[in-house]
Amino acid sequence: MERPYLKIDQVSKSFTRGGDVSEVLRDVSLTIHKGEFVSIIGHSGCGKSTLLNMVAGLLPVTTGAILLEDREVNAPGPDRAVVFQNHSLLPWLSVYDNVKLAVDKVFSRTRTRAQRHDWTMHNLELVQMAHAKDKRPAEISGGMKQRVGIARALSMEPKVLLLDEPFGALDALTRAHLQDSVMQIHASLGNTVIMITHDVDEAVLLSDRIVMLTNGPAAHVGEVLDVGLARPRKRLDLVSNPTYIRAREAVLKFLYERHRFVEAA
């Protein structure tokens, strides 16, 4: 069998606040291969963002380990670039400078100034944002900001690209556009991607596998679904595709039959 690229091994996470210990995730194990697109889906509050933040190294694991190419992940780094839900562009820098900051930092030793400029522009072109390179984030739309966020993450040439509900704050049409862009980029670059989402259609459309988390506290992997759809996928063709419908049904059943979201109150 192929050597695992990213291995999440028996990871648990609990937060301690005052004297209370709340267990968010328990014994989550997951193996992701190079070039795979994996979505993690679950009801809000189940700890999917916590899981992603641990892979990013922004949060420490409580027990267990996360291994990327057999090396333990214990600090954040550009090899696991994150696209944040709220874009997190620096508002005082132009679109170009936001991406350039990442490029300069990651490739300061290995590439010349001209190469870094070209690479910055290349990534902006990849997300079709080269035309707005001199604008400030406040001057562009939400979808455009998210595109720049993706360009910034891609520009670091990460081993794993982490998407934290990247399209959650966007309207449906913009979201569809961006999903298509992400599919194209994934097809041409072959990145390994982990995406957090709560949108069933998005998960089925984009992913090779969908990891479904049970409800918290102490959430764990409830089920893993192989989406057996051939690529390239076309949004319109899939609507009536039986495999698509079956996959969609499986995820919906998991979320709304077996693990209904019980609100706290």
Binding site: P76, P78, S88, L90, P91, W92, K105, V106
Partner: protein, 300 residues
């Protein structure tokens, strides 16, 4: 009957044919528009200039009435105008090393404030950044600063004199210590309010401490820092009289102290106006610098 007839005869001869008549028709509307525009500008100027002018004149009048009586303790505006005439009309005269115009004195004082405030800005931002980064330091030092910042400038005089044993550094220290507190406190608050997302970005990019400081911290906290600087420059200017009681020489602060000792009250009045105007300008300059420097940071 003859006059209209004459007009009727001459006008066809004078007036050129149809085309120019059209431009003649157009011209009045254009000038009317321009007039309306000019009127609007005038009105805007008037609404901004007339109220303060009226208020100032009224205050001067009240002051004149109150202080015009024989036996009044303070000079009236007219008396000030008469007795301190040279100070008012020529800020830049030089009649000897100690007898110079108030403009020169203000410049000397500004230089002193620039050194004291400049030091306070640098130290204040660095210390504020340090405190903003650490919860423990914030909790430990914030009460100390809150108490120290209420100490008036004059109260620092003996302490600084005892410490430095020289008037010039003591004066700068008084300005420094008066203006540093709001800079520290505002910087610290600004740094504590850096959105967590920016810290995450910095972590993913592995920015080092220095890069984080000038790439993330300073721009993100800039609006708070400039608020602190603006309050600080106001306080620094407030401290100038206290500071120059020590140094002597040609500063505007010392001028007031000196004028009081030789009971030249009208001179003091003129100096007060100078101090007020310069303080106002300083405040606006720092404010303008702030809005220039923080253009992009407000919205995201």
């Amino acid at each position: 009957m003859s006059a209209p007839a004459l007009k009727a005869q001459t006008s066809p001869g004078k007036a050129p044919p149809v085309k120019p008549a059209a431009t003649l028709l157009k011209l009045p509307t254009r000038t009317a528009a321009r007039q309306a525009q000019a009127l609007a500008v005038l009105r805007r100027i008037a609404t901004n200039v007339i109220p303060p002018t009226v208020t100032v004149l009224a205050l001067l009048l009240i002051w004149q009435i109150l202080c015009d009586k024989p036996g009044a303790t303070l000079p009236s505006p007219l008396a000030v105008w008469k007795e301190a005439h040279d100070l008012i009309v020529d800020p830049f005269f030089v009649h000897g090393s100690q007898d110079v115009g108030l403009g020169w004195r203000v410049l000397v004082s500004l230089q002193r404030v620039a050194i004291g405030f400049g030091l306070a800005a640098v130290v204040g931002i660095l210390v504020g950044a340090l405190i903003g980064q650490s919860d423990w330091a914030m909790r430990g030092l914030d009460p100390v600063f809150q108490v120290l910042r209420t100490v008036p400038p004059l109260a620092w005089l003996p302490i600084s004199l005892a410490a430095f044993r020289d008037s010039s550094p003591s004066a700068i220290f008084v300005i420094f210590i008066t203006s540093i507190w709001p800079i520290i406190i505002n910087t610290a608050v600004g740094i504590r309010n850096i959105p967590h997302d920016y810290r995450n970005v910095a972590a993913v990019l592995r920015l080092n401490t220095f890069e984080f400081f000038y790439r993330i911290m300073i721009p993100s906290a800039a609006p708070y820092i400039f608020t602190g600087l603006r309050i600080g420059i106001g306080l620094a200017w407030l401290a100038i009289v206290a500071a120059e009681m020590l140094t002597g020489g040609v500063g505007i602060g010392f001028f007031i102290w000196d004028a009081w000792n030789s009971s030249r009250l009208p001179d003091i009045v003129v100096a007060l106006v100078y101090i007020g105007l310069v303080g106002f300008v300083l405040d606006r300059v720092v404010g303008a610098l702030g809005s220039l420097a923080t253009r992009g940071t407000a919205a995201s």
